[in-house]
């Protein structure tokens, strides 16, 4: 803490962040040349759960068992939600147009409600646009979870590795050493596979180039049998995810998309609860249903 630090960061007042009143994203002002983002095509998603299991495998998620699941203590960072048409009337579900599936995980909000409230600063916004969770810093006040509109933060209610014996020998050999196994009392959530983006950035840096789409896939994206998930650097106009956001005219820093205000909207990109202004980094594409049959 020196005076120069103070002054320097004081002047960062609102400049380091892409969320601003003026027209954004202002990538010039963005602190890093990477902004991780995702696009999920709900029309392609079949609800098969492959992403969720891949997440268990990649991120050392504990299997809590029936009793704890019944208490709502499941630890799936990526959950698949199923919705019905309510065509038959309120509370009555019609199945004749199928169901809708929605993979839900941390939306990595640019203005995340969880970040400001952590008493110890265990959850912060990284320069590459992730909502970080520093497990060791967490003291378990759960304020972040209370404040998350999506309820995608998961708390370690028990000491899963040691006391609950979630990974009995030799199942523990499967654990991914690239990230920790969280113990009781800390909050955790989807990190967009930080360990993978880290490696990709590291390798690109060593080779002196920018991170490309081909460098990194999240575990869910890699597994998805229908390729519904796109992940990449929104900052890079060449990336698939940037193209998708662009084509759907979804703007990272707007809570009401301009296209939505226009009549006759013919695009299907949207973000969940964006009217709350957390500026989520995950764009969903509406499910499409043929009406001719």
């Amino acid at each position: 803490m020196s005076v120069s630090n103070l002054l320097e960061n004081w002047s960062k007042f609102r400049h380091t962040h892409p969320v601003d009143d003026k027209g954004y994203p202002d990538w010039e002002a963005y602190p890093s040349d990477i902004k991780w983002a995702m696009a999920i095509d709900l029309d392609a998603c079949t609800g098969c759960n492959a992403c969720s299991v891949a997440c268990y495998a990649e991120n050392n998620l504990p299997v809590v068992g029936k009793e704890k699941y019944s208490h709502g203590q499941a630890m799936h960072w990526m959950r698949i939600e199923r919705y019905w048409d309510e065509s038959a009337g309120v509370g009555e579900f019609g199945a004749d147009k199928g169901a809708r599936f929605l993979p839900m995980m941390c939306q990595q909000c640019e203005a995340a409600p969880c970040e400001t409230v952590c008493p110890v600063g265990a959850t912060n916004h990284t320069e590459d646009g992730l909502n970080s969770q520093i497990y060791n810093r967490c003291i378990g006040s759960r304020y972040c979870s209370a404040n998350c509109p999506y309820k995608v933060r998961y708390f370690n209610w028990y000491n899963y590795p040691e006391q609950e014996k979630v990974w009995p020998e030799p199942l523990n050999q499967q654990l991914n050493p690239d990230l920790t196994v969280r113990t009781k009392g800390v909050m955790e959530k989807c990190t967009f596979c930080k360990q993978r983006t880290y490696t990709a950035r590291n390798n690109a840096k060593t080779e002196g180039r920018q991170v490309q789409d081909s460098d990194v896939q999240t575990a869910c994206q890699e597994a998805c049998p229908v390729g519904a998930i796109t992940f990449g650097n929104l900052h890079n106009p060449e990336s698939q995810v940037a193209k998708q956001w662009q084509s759907q005219q979804v703007d990272l820093t707007k809570e009401v998309q301009e296209k939505d205000e226009k009549e006759g909207n013919r695009l299907r990109g949207y973000r969940i609860l964006e009217e709350l202004r957390p500026y989520p980094s995950v764009m969903y594409l509406e499910r499409v249903r043929e009406s001719a049959v």
């Binding site: 400001t116 409230v117 008493p119 110890v120 378990g140 006040s141 304020y143 209370a146 309820k151 009781k184």
Partner: protein
């Protein structure tokens, strides 16, 4: 209406009566103490279990992350506001009937804050790392997040607690001196000698005492308001439906004063009996307290209505849904229980006959306290189980016995601290009762004089 206090009590008698409370309370005192210890035992057991196994044993789940702990935390914080109300606000307003009862109210402030602080600890997932939340220069070079309302909370509570302790202590120095002068044996003598700081009641001491006491009282009032409005901002600063309400800070403060007053009535009745304070904690004083409580109850009711009306009138669909869910869903019995206890029951206090009826008031005050606890629960829980995201709504979460045990035990903990305090420090402020008696007798004399003069004039005529 009777007198707040007899004007002809001899000062020496006051000393005698109050000091007696330090020596030989009624048997009930020991019963209460034992029960309180047992309750604390339950809570300690639950906490040890929870600490070792993990918070999951409390039946928390993903949306319902806070359960009863934070609700009870707010309850205790609220309770603490009574002391400030009686000792600071009424002091500034020169309401001298507060004098026999403000000491224990202040003690209540201190101990309920200490109880509230425990809930902050108890609800933490990693209690053993709590020092991460302290702002001190460490080898990690990191600081807590000052943007978090939780930290403001911690700071406000710390300030409030330490200020209250100081206020309580400063205010009882003259009484501690009396104890020092009257108790001549054992550790108590040493304790009182130490605590009395050599107080002799000199004019210099009294002069500075008066200013200091007034200054701290002045500080305490905005502090108390800020504490509960900061607790309110834990919720109001968030975006959750049912919490994100502008009227929360005043609403919380009103609720705090309300529950504090209700608790004062309860403790008033208990202390009056246990320590034989019938001469000092008189029924007229009870009546005044009851009337004050009724007034605050009406403020609270009004603010409650404002909150509902604002939600009702607004276009905030989610907040409206939470309100409807509160009133009709799983929480309906508790919600209506809160309305009954908080807004309907106080009308009992309007009946003059009952204002001084000890059994009735005892029952009413306990129910008011229950209502205020329910209020806090109804603020915290419904928003969790009926937030923005419909997929995660939760109908089945119910606090486990561990949570209930700790909440239950907290009442024991508070009672224990309070009762031990009352046994060590005079719970009626002797010097101030003397002042009260003195001033009242002067006033009486003046009155008599006036009457006499009038009579004399009449007689002369």
């Amino acid at each position: 209406m009777g007198k707040d206090i007899r004007e002809d009590i001899a000062w020496a008698q006051i000393n005698k009566d109050v000091l007696k409370s330090l020596e030989s309370p009624r048997k009930l005192y020991w019963v209460i103490l034992l029960v309180a210890i047992a309750m604390v035992g339950v809570a300690v057991g639950c906490e040890i279990y929870q600490y070792n196994v993990g918070l999951g044993v409390g039946n928390f789940d993903n949306p319902n992350v806070w359960g009863l702990y934070i609700a009870t935390f707010i309850f205790w914080i609220g309770m603490s506001h009574s002391g400030t109300l009686l000792s600071a606000i009424l002091h500034l307003m020169h309401a001298d009937w507060r004098k026999p009862i403000y000491r224990f109210a202040e003690a209540m402030t201190t101990f309920s804050l200490m109880t509230a602080g425990l809930f902050v600890m108890v609800h933490l997932g990693r209690l053993w790392q709590v020092y991460y939340a302290l702002p001190y220069p460490s080898e990690r070079w990191v600081w807590p997040n000052f943007q978090s309302p939780l930290l403001w909370d911690a700071m406000a509570i710390f300030t409030y607690l330490s200020s209250s302790v100081l206020f309580l202590y400063i205010g009882s120095i003259p009484d501690l001196a009396i104890c020092r002068d009257n108790i001549h044996q054992g550790w108590r003598k040493k304790l009182y000698t130490l605590l009395a700081l050599g107080w002799e009641g000199t004019d210099r001491q009294w002069r500075n005492f008066r200013v200091t006491y007034l200054t701290i009282a002045c500080f305490l009032i905005p502090l108390a308001v800020s504490v509960h409005s900061i607790v309110a901002s834990d919720f109001a600063m968030s975006q959750q439906p049912g919490w994100h309400i502008t009227s929360f800070p005043p609403y919380f403060v009103a609720g705090a004063l309300y529950s504090g007053c209700a608790a004062i009535i309860t403790l008033f009745i208990i202390l009056r009996y246990v320590f034989r304070f019938e001469e000092y904690m008189t029924l007229p004083i009870l009546k005044k307290t009851v009337r004050l409580t009724f007034a605050i109850a009406m403020v609270w009711t009004y603010l409650n209505c404002v909150e509902f009306a604002a939600t009702w009138y607004s276009h905030d669909v989610a907040a409206k849904a939470v309100l409807i869910e509160k009133a009709t869903g799983r929480f309906a019995p508790f919600f209506w229980g809160m309305i009954f206890c908080g807004s309907v029951l106080p009308f009992v206090m309007m009946v003059k006959k009952w204002q001084t009826n000890i059994p009735v008031m005892f029952a009413v005050s306990l129910l008011l306290n229950l209502g205020m606890w329910l209020e806090r629960w109804m603020i915290v829980a419904p928003t969790f189980s009926h937030g923005y995201y419909p997929w995660t709504w939760d109908e089945h979460m119910w606090p486990s016995m561990v949570q209930w045990g700790i909440v239950f035990g907290s009442f024991g903990w508070f009672t224990l601290l309070f009762m031990v305090f009352c046994k060590i420090v005079p719970s009626v402020s002797m010097y101030e009762v003397k002042e009260m008696v003195y001033h009242r007798s002067l006033a009486l004399k003046k009155e008599e004089q006036a009457v006499k003069e009038e009579l004399a004039v009449k007689g002369a005529n």
